[in-house]
Amino acid sequence: MKKLSLLLILALMLSVFSACAGNSEAGGSTAAPAGSESAAPAGDNTPAPSVSSGRDDLIIAINQDIKTFDLMYGSGMLMTQLGINVYDSLLQFENDGTPNPWLAEKWEVSDNGLEYTFYLREGVKFHNGEELKASDVVFTVERGRESPKMSAICANIATIEALDDYTVKVVCNEISSTFLIEFCGEKFPIYNQKAVEEVENYGDHPIGTGAYKFVSNEQGSKIEFEAFDEYWHGAPAIKKLVYRIMPDNFTAGVALESGDIDMIWATNAATAATLEQNEKLVLLSEPSINVLYVAMNTQAAPFNDVKVRQAVNYAMDREMIQDIVDEGRSDIKDYLPLDTMPGFVEPKTRYSYDLDKALSLMEAAGYSESNPIEVTMLTNTANQKLAEVVQECLSAIYIKANLDVLETNTFTSQVYTSSTILSVSNFNMIYNDMDMINRFYNSARIDLHNAPRYSNTRVDELLELGRGELDVEKRREYYGELIEIVQEDAPYAALSNPHIIRAYNKDLNVAKSYTHGIFMFDVSWN
């Protein structure tokens, strides 16, 4: 009896165990919709050895799950990277901001700068077999108006209409030098009306005109794509694209070295140092669009005094930040905009580490060792290390900053309120244009994105002028004046521009890496 019961228990355990094993294989993934099932690879993918030639698949490590493939409703650089596999936009951008024809073969701008006419490429197919029509572009804009991510961009579009199947006319409310960037960058993917309306759970089954068809998404584990053979630009060289989710940099590094994976989308400096030693790998360390900064509330004491803000700028030991926070893999910054932005002018007012200057400014503002400042400094978990270094720098100029580290969502809901005096954070400059700094300095953005609650009527004016101006030289003039004012007023102390570090097998040809990621169409094996 006893033995029998023990046997039963053992059998029960085994059955639970095997039931689970069956479960995950059957229900573990969200399968692709009908239509793209033809070549869906079955079975497990035992990692191929890194004997390069002859391969047409690619395994890339990413560090987190993707919320949704409906790009209008998600956010993050990673989603953009995966999104550009599936979707195309009307124009494709070079890193310097020049637009190239993409889904639109050509475009015309009316003399008054308000009307844009796009001529679509003919015969472009969506993954569901539908042909790209002007009505899809109209549908995309109308759908975008509803989404929190696109509504701001679409607001400037007064009307959009399909003149015929391959011609779209867009009328803007006001002249915008950033129109092409906002509307046509990789942030504005073209959707297929039929697919969005017919596919249930569209965010899990995206359909676009891109080089890769979505196959499956096994949460926490891997995301698979396969080449779209009818891609208008030609069939891509890599036929099967697998993104493995590896939250740990060490794990991804080992997997790359042992040939389990072929590429790491982004890794950290510590892992990069190990990977650098490996001759079989290529390490790509290039400026990202991420800028780290301190924001000071210009409407409340003590930072309503410009001398204190300038002192903070002089007190930042940016080289130490580069060494400690970015482990050397970053560019030092003392102004917010990126040098690559069209319209960028290098400021004349610069801040380098100068403790004497900082101290004399503090003393001029009435602070001293016996009369120090004590404030709360907000930051999020991602920037804790940076904030600790900033705290150290501030302590040298009589500012005692008490660190309050919040989870990212809580931080976002608190950092733009009036009660925040001092904060350390970062921002991804998703639009490669000087107009991006509008969110940092425009007084209309107070309570929204303008953390220092900075308000200067001339700056607001210049921001409007810069956006409404199409002439390149005029724009540079406006932004040149603007940047001197904001450098002088110093509501922020910009700190650094960390590099994005990618690593991949040296037998891979990676033609080009954009600021927003790697266009997988350009990748092939030697």
Binding site: F17, S24, D248, V254
Partner: protein
């Protein structure tokens, strides 16, 4: 016996309700705005307010808790994840099997290693075998699991290239994660087994058995071991519970899509539906494990079984 099991199963209801209440309160007290988490940084205040109303976040605490309980009890509906907008239940059940399999494997292997070596150490007390195994046990009990996992990866995956370092696709993939869970835990079980065995073999009835001329093998496995097993079973139950929720680090190091790392992410994102559902699931399984442990006592120890019979 069956009545006892039924009674215990019924008792799980108030326990789970209590767990739900505590976790729900903690999640409501924590700062943060679910609408902000869903819509992102660019959403306007109106969009945020609208979504919060839609989610029912602006309702009073007790009403929210009541709605949650009613939905779960009547429809087994834990809602949509704030973060991914996917049904929480689906998300959890794609991940839970990995966690469960690892936990079961971890318990099986740590008990095999821990108990067998523990018993032999006790029998051969002060022998070189005992000394070496005690020292090793002390070492592995003190080593952090993730470090041990990393070392295994570096040796077997990178240097020797024998085993895959990440994922759980084939049987081979299970070897390293199972070892890095089983070996540190088996160290604890080994020490416990050894000390309880040492205690038991000094009891009078063992001496009597020896005096009767019973073979050593029978004395150890039939008389001493079964008595020494009770605390070890309790410990195994605890280990299983810890592994269900706490293998986060191992899951991260081996890139396994388990539940542990999912919960940690959900807490970070203040994704209340995911946290609630995962914690409830783990609590449910933990209750089952504790029940199973209590029942195992009965099989191991006839005295306990007799007590059940009387009830």
């Amino acid at each position: 016996m069956i009545r006892y099991v039924l009674k215990r199963l019924l008792l799980m209801i108030p326990v789970l309700l209590g767990v739900a209440f505590i976790v729900f309160s903690v999640m409501s007290l924590a700062p943060g705005d679910p609408a902000r988490a869903i819509l992102g940084e660019n959403a306007t205040q109106e969009q945020l307010d609208m979504l919060n109303t839609q989610l029912g976040v602006d309702q009073p605490f007790l009403i929210r808790f009541g709605t949650f309980v009613v939905n779960v009890v009547t429809k087994l509906d834990f809602g949509l994840s704030y973060n991914s907008q996917r049904p929480v239940f689906d998300e959890i059940f794609t991940r839970f099997p990995y966690t469960l399999r690892l936990a079961v494997l971890g318990v099986i292997f740590s008990s095999i290693i821990g108990i067998s070596i523990g018993v032999f150490s006790a029998i051969k007390q002060y022998s070189p075998f005992d000394t070496i195994s005690t020292i090793l046990a002390l070492f592995f009990a003190s080593v952090p699991g993730f470090w041990f996992g990393m070392m295994l990866i570096l040796l077997f995956a990178l240097q020797l290239g024998l085993l895959p370092s990440n994922g759980l696709d084939t049987v081979k993939h299970y070897i390293l994660p199972t070892l890095s869970i089983a070996i540190p835990y088996s160290a604890g079980i080994l020490r416990l087994t050894r000390s309880t065995m040492l205690e038991t073999v000094r009891q009078d009835y063992i001496r009597t058995a020896k005096a009767k001329g019973v073979t050593e093998w029978v004395i150890i496995w039939k008389h001493a071991f079964r008595n020494a097993l009770l605390p070890v079973i309790t410990q195994l139950g605890n280990v299983f519970g810890q592994l269900l929720g706490g293998a986060v680090v191992i899951e991260t190091v081996f890139a396994i899509p388990g539940l542990g790392s999912h919960i940690v992410n959900a807490i970070r994102m203040k994704d209340t539906p995911v946290v609630m559902a995962s914690v409830m699931l783990l609590a449910f399984f933990f209750c089952l494990v504790i029940l199973a442990v209590d029942l195992l006592y009965a099989f191991v120890d006839p005295r306990i079984k007799a007590k059940y019979a009387r009830r």
